[in-house]
Amino acid sequence: MFRFDADRSVEFCDGFRRRDFLHAGSLAALGLGMPAFLGLKAQGAVDKSKDNNCIMMMLVGGPSQLDTWDMKPNAPLEIRGPYKPIKTNVSGIEISENFPRMAKHADKYAIVRSMYHTAAAVHDTGHQMMQTGRLFQGGVEHPHIGCVLAKMKGSKGDVPPHVLLPRPIGATGGNMPHGQSAGYLGKTFDPFTLNADPSDPNFRVPDMLPPDYLTALRVDRRRNWREMVDRSVSKFETSQDARLLDSTFHQAYTLMSSEKARQAFELHREPEKIREKYGMNRFGQSCLLARRLVEAGVRFVTINMFETVFDEITWDIHGSKPFSPISCYKDLVGPMFDMAYSSLLEELQERGLLQNTMVVGFGEFGRTPKVNPAGGRDHWPQCWSILMAGGGVKGGQAVGSSDEIGAAPKDRPTTPAEVAATIYHTLGIDLETELPGAQGRPIPIVDRGVGPIRELFA
């Protein structure tokens, strides 16, 4: 009986020794956007010189600008809230006392303090706009930026191009899509979703290797026979789900056959000290996993800090049940973010990855300047702050500003579409690119005339 492991030389029942027997054809079979990539490259839509990655942190719930990165210490108490600003390692930039470690890294990130959107003040709309650059209207579901990247650049090595950690955003009240899928591009370009909690002591991606009782020969034979049987039935060709099933099997086999790809997911290979530095919680360990994945060749990692805003402590500080109290920024959510974000920037820089890895962190909106009767703050898409770092972003600056109570942008009002354009720009994707929507109708990846936030790269 031979233990299956493709990266070692394996002896087969037929007496031959082979390496990577599953590899033959697997990359081509994975086919994730390769034809699209080649075609688009020929058209010049993909800038090969910019092989940048992106880690996107969705701060689900919507952090309050006034209690995080845009403090208003001179405003009246009911505006400035319970927290005090602290100095950072960049003179002139202050952030909330809830983020003491971030204060030591302010030279690495830029804060955009003049974000706003004009759609309905529900979580779902902001999720859509921040992750796709657009509000979903008229039945068109736009693709997540990472899914567009997956379509245009395909995978790098044996890992999927876009991984979503740890689980997709669930219910946040609006019953609308959250912009975490490939939308009109089709499910083939959906992210690889972990669907497990990386802070679980027994965390592993389940079933990455065949059991002892199954020989490599049989695993290989099953694969070949399966393809033979599956090909003979034509009716599935028109089904999106059926095509997705094919691609999930291909990706599963690719993961199985690549030791490097498997190890990327094996968090237990990290020293305990490193793991603790990120925080032994779902978000902290997801950030650490994101670093490992980028190192292994994943181009885009989306991390959902929370999955819902109901009955969970999140950024959504309405102050009443089932939502969160404002105090959680000091007790839980703030420290959790502070540790993970700071550690990620630190490590990316130490490893020389920050230059080609953009790290963005944002919520779907800000919060009401005035503290509500429950001591919390409600939804406020009119003004909020986001974090941008890496991938060429010049840290240590605040771009845009808000008025004296953080209620509206004062200068350089910035929209979610511009953030999307900034990420595309960093990833080397031409903003003029059009993608095929329903019935082949070309849809530009960002609205015409929307450009990147140039100040970030100054």
Partner: protein, 811 residues
């Protein structure tokens, strides 16, 4: 026959006469206007000729008409408006009356609509919960009295200046005479400006309770069949409580639900962009109606294609009409083998056994499909399957329920399905009962949802397909529900009493209290308990408020109750709800075939909310019995039911089917051997397989809790995980049995295909499989080694069948 005659009667090539829409109009005020459309039809297509015809009035001293078809009143009397193009002519009568009476713009019916249309009171601007820059309007003008007060009394009267109307902030800001964060909303020379200015100049009359209110909307045309590139204007008229009918197109908010088919601008002009169908929603004064734009696909479809689609019941007539309108040919009828597998899986969540398939194929009677449907609907597995489904809906789980009461909740659901309890009765049993949760399982609903707010939100979601959560803190930003309606509804559940039983903490008594109220959070007083758009009950009444709710909920007149459940049952069989997502049947979510939907709802109500009757009606339709194989015309159709929509099986069904085919049941900890996944009352039972394949958590009532998307984790689990691999190699499993019986490879293949796919292998499949098996068993060594090689090869082949698309999907 009647049906075929109807199809043949459709005007396919004839050019119909020119027609004016609307056919007549009455103008009862100086400022009243009516836009007319000139329409003709050719080859089944509509043609908006409004700008091409010549418009004339028989009596310009009564009513004038301009070149664009816009009619304005001049003096009281009658006039005939004529549209002429070439030889074609059409007329419409116009009556002008009441012009001598003084006219004032109305705050309720003109000023508020201006603010709505131009966006002032939308959620992103002054309609926001906190307003904007200290100026707060009610969202989309739902409360004109409050808005009137805000405009005229607050801010030292600067917003509305009676002394100098143009100096009013309202006008200056909106026309950008002075800086305005919201930019230019309307120009100084616009109608909007004039409406507001003249209203102020007239002394800014307040809204009165005697103001006429909108009681209904109508649109012209209601439906139009067009080609990509075509344009079509839409007209919307409002009917008021005083009998007046007015063209309100200029104040309507338009949007398209499918911009890939049609776009619509702010003035109601539709531009067709692709093939298919789009519902244009027309929103005015908290009411919404639709105009439907159909752009038939450019397919070659003949009458013969439709004749092959035999209508078996009313479903088919509606489906056929829709397909014809869109130039989609229905797929061929499904084969017997496809049908039996599909029917078993959709109705009972199990595969037919190999023997059942063989018997069905051998049956020669013409009504064998209907008889099969009847048999399946009487199976115990039918009850398990629907009990599981309704347990998803009712959130049955041991997460919060102790084992005893969880079982009593589940058993109540199971018994209800077994008795085919009418759906209204099912709901009433929950909302009108009192007593112990242990002896009456339905009452656990009130244990899971203890809080009046939670009860309100869950009840409306589970039974009405409405999400109310947004209205908890403010008026619903995307729906018509207000925060006031929300708290009136909440108060219906203010008197649900729960008393613990000292001996068993899980067994509680649910009873109706005679006092207690929930306050509106800002008015700080209770509002008369009122079900959404139903009748209020007195705050003093001691009647069980839940009964009032249940009567409204289950009334045949409730527009959402039957709609919600019919959509869920339809989607279970047809792969997609008539409205999608399946649990979102709010008015602003248009259905793909409203006539069909309405017919199904009417039939369901006429049959006293009989779920099994509904299932039978659907399963016996030709639409359900279509092949999933696309033809040249319907490859991309997944909306209009021109073919059976392929769907991945639910995780529980896959697991049970794997158990069934391999002959090895799944062991669930603490459940008797042989319990199927679909018989579990609980979703907390540990199962790696079900977790990977997307089992709902039953925490919130939301269809998105159940994911059926294929994932890499699922692939890894069936390739490497123990669940399937151990079933295949089990000593008591199917492969071991085949070998023990000494069956030939050929017989074994037949049996495997029959039990996994409900069909025999094709010749090609058989040849290639036999060849593969022969090669695999051809190993050197002892007889035992060869036997072992054969066993492994058979296991591998069965693995292949059980991980294939044909197995994992219902097709």
């Amino acid at each position: 026959m009647k049906f075929v005659a109807f199809l043949l009667a459709l005007p396919l090539c004839a050019q119909t006469a020119l027609q004016i829409l609307p056919p007549q109009a009455e103008l009862r005020a100086v400022e009243a206007k009516q836009q007319f459309l000139a329409e003709s039809q050719q080859g089944g297509f509509h043609n908006d000729a409004t700008s091409k015809v010549t418009w004339t009035s028989s009596n310009p001293a009564v009513a004038k008409v301009d070149a664009a078809g816009l009619v304005t009143p001049v003096s009281d009397g009658d006039a005939v408006i004529t549209a002429t193009i070439g030889q074609a002519k059409a007329t419409a009568n116009v009556k002008v009356a009441g012009l001598k009476q003084p006219f004032n713009w109305s705050f309720r019916n003109h000023v508020v609509p201006v603010m709505t249309k131009t966006g002032c009171n939308q959620g992103a601007c002054h309609g926001a919960l906190a307003g904007k820059n200290g100026f707060k309007l009610t969202l989309r003008g739902y409360d004109p009295d409050v808005d009137y007060d805000t405009l005229t009394r607050q801010s030292l009267g600067r917003r509305v200046s009676l002394a100098d109307p143009p100096a009013s902030l309202l006008l200056q800001k909106a026309s950008f005479g002075i800086p305005h964060g919201g930019g230019l909303r309307f120009k100084k020379d616009s109608l909007e400006y004039r409406v507001v200015q003249e209203w102020i100049a007239a002394g800014a009359p307040a809204p009165a309770s005697t103001d006429a209110e909108v009681i209904g909307l109508e649109s012209f045309p209601k439906q139009a069949t067009l080609k990509p590139g075509d344009e079509q204007s839409l007209i919307v008229r409002a009917r008021y409580s005083d009998g007046r009918v007015e063209d309100v197109t200029r104040w309507v908010k338009f949007s398209s639900n499918n911009e890939g088919v049609a776009l619509v601008d702010d003035y109601g002009k539709v531009k067709v962009t692709g093939h298919g169908e789009a519902a244009i929603s027309l929103w005015y004064s908290s009411r919404i109606i639709y105009s439907r734009i159909t752009a038939p696909f450019s397919n070659q479809v003949s009458d013969a294609d439709y004749r092959k689609f035999t209508p078996r019941n009313f479903i088919d007539e509606h489906v056929a009409r829709k397909l014809r309108g869109l130039n989609l040919a229905p797929s061929a009828p499904a084969t017997d083998t496809a049908f039996i597998r599909r029917a078993y899986l959709d109705a009972a969540g199990v595969l037919p056994s190999a023997e059942e398939v063989e018997q069905f194929l051998a049956d020669q009677s013409p009504d064998k499909r209907a008889k099969l449907v009847d048999r399946i609907l009487e199976k115990d597995e039918y009850v398990d399957y629907w009990a599981y489904k309704w347990s998803d809906l009712m959130l049955v789980s041991s997460r919060r329920l102790g084992p005893n009461v969880m079982w009593s909740f589940y058993n109540w659901i199971h018994d209800s399905v077994a008795a085919n309890k009418p759906w209204d009765q099912f709901a009433r049993d929950i909302f009108t009962s009192s007593g112990s949760t242990r002896s009456n399982g339905a009452l656990n609903y009130f244990f899971l949802h203890k809080d009046p707010i939670d009860l309100t939100e869950n009840a409306t979601q589970a039974f009405l397909g409405q999400r109310l959560t947004c209205a908890r803190c403010h008026n619903h930003p995307m729906e018509k529900w207000t925060q006031k309606q929300y708290y009136q509804m909440v108060n219906l559940f203010a008197r649900v009493g729960i008393k613990s039983n000292s001996t068993d903490p899980n067994d509680v008594m649910v009873f109706a209290k005679t006092s207690g109220d929930v306050n509106h959070p800002r008015l700080l007083r209770p509002l008369p308990p009122t079900p959404l758009d139903g009748q209020p009950m007195s705050l003093d009444s001691t009647e069980d408020r839940r009964k009032h709710f249940a009567a409204w909920l289950t009334s045949p007149k409730n527009p959402y109750f039957a709609r919600n459940i019919v959509n869920r049952v339809w989607a279970n069989f047809m792969g997609r709800g008539l409205v999608d997502p399946v649990d979102d049947v709010r008015e602003a979510n248009a259905s793909s075939n409203e006539e069909l939907f309405k017919a199904l709802i009417d039939d369901f109500i006429a049959h006293k909310f009989d779920v099994k009757h509904l299932a039978r009606t659907i399963m016996n339709s030709s639409a359900y019995q279509l092949s999933s194989e696309a033809n040249a015309t319907n490859q991309s159709d997944n909306i209009y039911y021109s073919k059976y929509i392929i769907k991945r099986l639910p995780g529980e069904v896959i697991l049970d089917a794997m158990s069934q085919v391999t002959g090895v049941p799944t062991a669930f900890p603490n459940y008797p051997a042989g319990t199927r996944a679909l018989q579990l009352p609980d979703v907390q039972v540990k199962s790696e397989f079900l977790t990977a394949f997307g089992r709902p958590n039953r925490v919130i009532c939301d269809m998105s809790e159940r994911s059926s998307d294929p994932s890499i984790a699922q692939a890894l689990h069936v390739i490497n995980g123990d669940t399937l691999n151990k079933k295949l190699s089990a000593a008591e499993g199917a492969v071991a049995l085949f070998l023990k019986l000494g069956l030939s490879d050929s017989r074994i293949l037949d049996h495997m295909f029959l039990s996994a796919y409900s069909r025999f292998p094709t010749d090609a499949e058989k040849q290639s499989s036999l060849k593969a098996l022969a090669e695999a068993r051809n190993v050197n060594g002892t007889a035992d080694a060869q036997k072992e090689a054969r066993r492994q090869a058979l296991e591998d082949l069965l693995w292949v069948l059980l991980t294939s698309k044909e197995f994992l999907f219902n097709s």
